[in-house]
């Protein structure tokens, strides 16, 4: 249950083999239990916001807060933008990331309202590549339960999720496709994309 993800272990052995810098290894790698607990906290916050019955604008602001506290917004933004992210200076990347945070909060916040009155059970974590995948099941009234898988990493030093997969549909892959299409529509103009993102969602 508490073993490290495979690639972490491999990386660790690699460093010993290289006779190298052990000081670089993190003092404490996230365990499966910690990964599940972090997702449970994020889910509880989201359900709390949904059931608060606040007006949409306030709800979206609250979702953006959850997103900033519990998600690795940097990794999500960089991955969604793809190769274009590498050619950006830090200031425009930060503008893109902030626009994307608001966009995600509005877009997914609106869909989260379908979860009103539902129960989400967070299950166990399994190692996947360099991170953990945490299973959860959403029980919605009058519908068959939905499987939602969360991908979470502590590469930032904190447990932060960076992807969710709802019944097989991968949020990061979907946003990658969407951002690519939005950028193509603006013929690669990043400032125009950022302006569009501030309106979209």
């Amino acid at each position: 249950m508490t073993h490290m993800p495979n690639s972490t272990r491999r990386g660790f052995l690699g460093m010993i083999a290289a006779g190298g810098a052990l000081a670089v290894t993190p003092a404490h790698a996230m365990t499966a239990g910690e990964a599940s607990a972090a997702i449970r906290r994020a889910v509880d916050e989201v359900l709390g916001i949904i059931s608060s019955g606040r007006p949409p604008a306030q709800m979206y602001a609250a979702f953006a807060g959850v997103f900033q506290r519990h998600a690795d917004v940097d990794a999500i933004a960089r991955s969604a933008l793809g190769p274009a992210a590498r050619q950006m200076d830090a200031a425009s990347f930060a503008r893109f990331r902030d626009a994307m945070t608001g966009y995600i909060a509005r877009k997914y916040g609106r869909r989260f309202q379908e979860f009103l009155g539902s129960r989400i059970e967070v299950g166990t974590a399994r190692p996947l590549k360099s991170f953990w995948a945490v299973e959860s099941t959403a029980y919605l009234n009058g519908r068959s339960p939905m499987q939602v898988e969360w991908h979470i990493s502590d590469k930032t030093g904190q447990p932060r999720f960076f992807n969710l997969i709802i019944e097989g549909v991968n949020m990061l892959a979907s946003e990658r496709e969407e951002i690519t299409a939005m950028l193509a529509r603006r013929k690669g103009d990043m400032a125009a994309l950022i302006a569009d993102l501030q309106q979209a969602g």
């Binding site: 869909r111 539902s118 097989g168 991968n170 892959a173």
Partner: protein, 244 residues
Amino acid sequence: MRLVPVVLVLGLAGCAAAPPGEIADPYEPMNRRVHAFNKALDANLVRPASRMVKGDGASGPRPPGQPPGVLQMVGNFGSNLSLPGKVVNSLLQGRPEPAVRNTFRFAVNTTLGLGGLFDPAGSDFALPEIDTDFGETLHVWGVPSGAYLELPLLGPSTERDLAGKIVDFALIDPLDNVLTDDQKLAGTAARVVSKAGERAQFGSTVDSVLHESADSYAQTRLLYTQHRRYELKQEEDAIDPYAE
């Protein structure tokens, strides 16, 4: 059992193959025209109709313990009639367990559920519907998905799943020999109505994909492909943003 569909498999042998993780879409120009048609149909007909349906309170969260609305009952009736075909497909896939469970589900809901209008099998006997189709049967038999297709009215599919739909519709519904024409028509109508119900239930998600995304064709294609692979329990490659 693998020898039965030789003709079909040969017919599909020319299917396009894509590199892993990518979607083979050689018919994209035609698919995009069909997509534009489907999208216009949704905006002008399906979306307004499903909003009307939603108006009677039949969809959306229903407090547990309350009786189902009319729409739910119509949906139950339609999906109950689809169970025998699913049983046949599970057997063709060499999966007796879902076949047995769906058989019990059909027996309970047809009798105690008053011809399938109610769903006591799901609520009281822990026998939820196990979904399958002939497209999945072909997958189990080793047929690749082939090229992506967007079909008029029916929406996203693949060459394999289109072949599956035709077989499911025309060949392997055991009820075909039992029901009268009127009963079959009622069953088909019920399935159409329950589709409208689904459109109402998942309204904001469908709106977001179809009417708010920058390239709704590409989004639909991605969502369908990923969800279908998930249904067929195929491994999906995970994105690792920290590995780059």
